[in-house]
Symmetry: C2
Subunit: 187 residues, 2 copies
C-alpha cells in the first residue's frame, strides 16, 4: 500500500522519542508513532517488538562495539584497561546522538519500568564485558569487578554527558569518571 520510504527505522525512532517527550511515554501508542512517521503499524513491528524497544534500539550496537574493542585490546592490557577499551568506539558512536540521548534520558528518568530496563541492559553489557575479559584469560573474579567498574564509569559519564551541552565531551567525561573511580578505590 505504501511506497518505499528510506530509513523507516530512523524515522520511527525520531517520531517515538518526540512523542514520548511531548505527550508522555505511557500516553503514546504504536499507532501514534507510526502515524507521526507516516508509516504503518505493520512497518513499526517489522523493526521493533514494542514501543519500549525503540528506546533501546542502540544497545545491541553499543554492546557489539564495546566487546569488539575489549577483544582487540593490547595483549598486556590489565583487566580494567581491557574493559574500558570499549570507551573509544562507544563515545564515537554517541557523538552524533547527543540530542537523542538527552531526550531519551528525560523519558527514561520519568518512568520506573524504563529505568529497570535500562539497568538490565547495563547489567547485560557488564556480563558481556566480563565474558570478553575471561576470553582474554582474566580470572573470573577480576573480570566481574573490572567489567562492573567499567560499566559504572560509562553510566556515570553518560549521565553527565546528557546534562551538558558539548556532544564531543563524552570521551573526556569517561576518563574523568575513571580517574574518580581509581581515586575512590585507592583512598
Amino acid at each position: 500500500m505504501s511506497r518505499w520510504k528510506p530509513d523507516a527505522a530512523g524515522r520511527l525512532i525520531k517520531a517515538a522519542i518526540t512523542l514520548f517527550d511531548q505527550q508522555g511515554y505511557d500516553e503514546t501508542t504504536v499507532a501514534d508513532i507510526a502515524a507521526a512517521a507516516d508509516l504503518t503499524k505493520r512497518t513499526f513491528f517489522r523493526y521493533f517488538a514494542d514501543k519500549r524497544e525503540v528506546l533501546f534500539s542502540g544497545s545491541e550496537e553499543l554492546v557489539h562495539l564495546w566487546l569488539e574493542a575489549v577483544a582487540a585490546a593490547p595483549e598486556g592490557a590489565d583487566p580494567l584497561a581491557a574493559a574500558t577499551a570499549g570507551f573509544d568506539p562507544v563515545a564515537e558512536m554517541f557523538v552524533e546522538r547527543h540530542e537523542f540521548a538527552r531526550m531519551r534520558a528525560r523519558i527514561i528518568d520519568s518512568n520506573p519500568e524504563l529505568q529497570e530496563r535500562e539497568l538490565i541492559k547495563l547489567q547485560n553489557l557488564a556480563g558481556g564485558v566480563k565474558s570478553a575479559l575471561i576470553d582474554r584469560g582474566v580470572s573470573s573474579n577480576a573480570a566481574i569487578l573490572a567489567a562492573q567498574a567499567s560499566v559504572t564509569v560509562f553510566h556515570v559519564a553518560f549521565a553527565r554527558w546528557v546534562e551538558q551541552d558539548d556532544p564531543a565531551a563524552f570521551r573526556r567525561l569517561m576518563d574523568e569518571s575513571l580517574d574518580e573511580l581509581r581515586a575512590v578505590a585507592t583512598a
Copy 2:
C-alpha cells in the same frame, strides 16, 4: 478458621524455597506454598504480594542494616570505607541463612525474570548507599562510584559464599573481593 500459628512468614518462606527448588519456580503456586506450610492463601497474602516476593523478603532488612552502618561510619571514613561499612552487619545477618541463600541462589539462577529482579534490588541498594554517602557530604560522583563498587563487591562475595560450605566465610570473602577491586582499579 485456623488457629494461630507462630512464625507464619518463616514457614511460608521455608515451604516456598523448598517447593521452588524441588518442583521448579514456575510450577509452584501460592496455593501449593500455603498448603505446604499448613496455612491458607489468605495468610500468605498477608505477608507477601506474590510468590516472587518470598525470595526477596530479606532485602528490606539488608538495605536497612547496610544504610544504617553507612550513616554510622566514622566521620573521617573515605567514601569506599563508608560504603562498605555495611559489610559487617550484612555478613552477620546472613550467617544464619547460608542454606536458605544457597537454595535461593539456585532458584534465581534458573529463572531470567528472577535474575532481573535480583539485579534491580541490587541497584536499589546501590542507590540507597549513594544517597547515604551524599548525606555524609560525599560528592555525587564519588558517591555513585563508591556505592556501586561496594555493591559489586558484595555481589561477588555473595556468589562465592553460596558456592562454598562455611556459613561464616562471608565477611572474609567480602574483604578478599574488596582487595581484588582495589587491585583491579590500581593496576
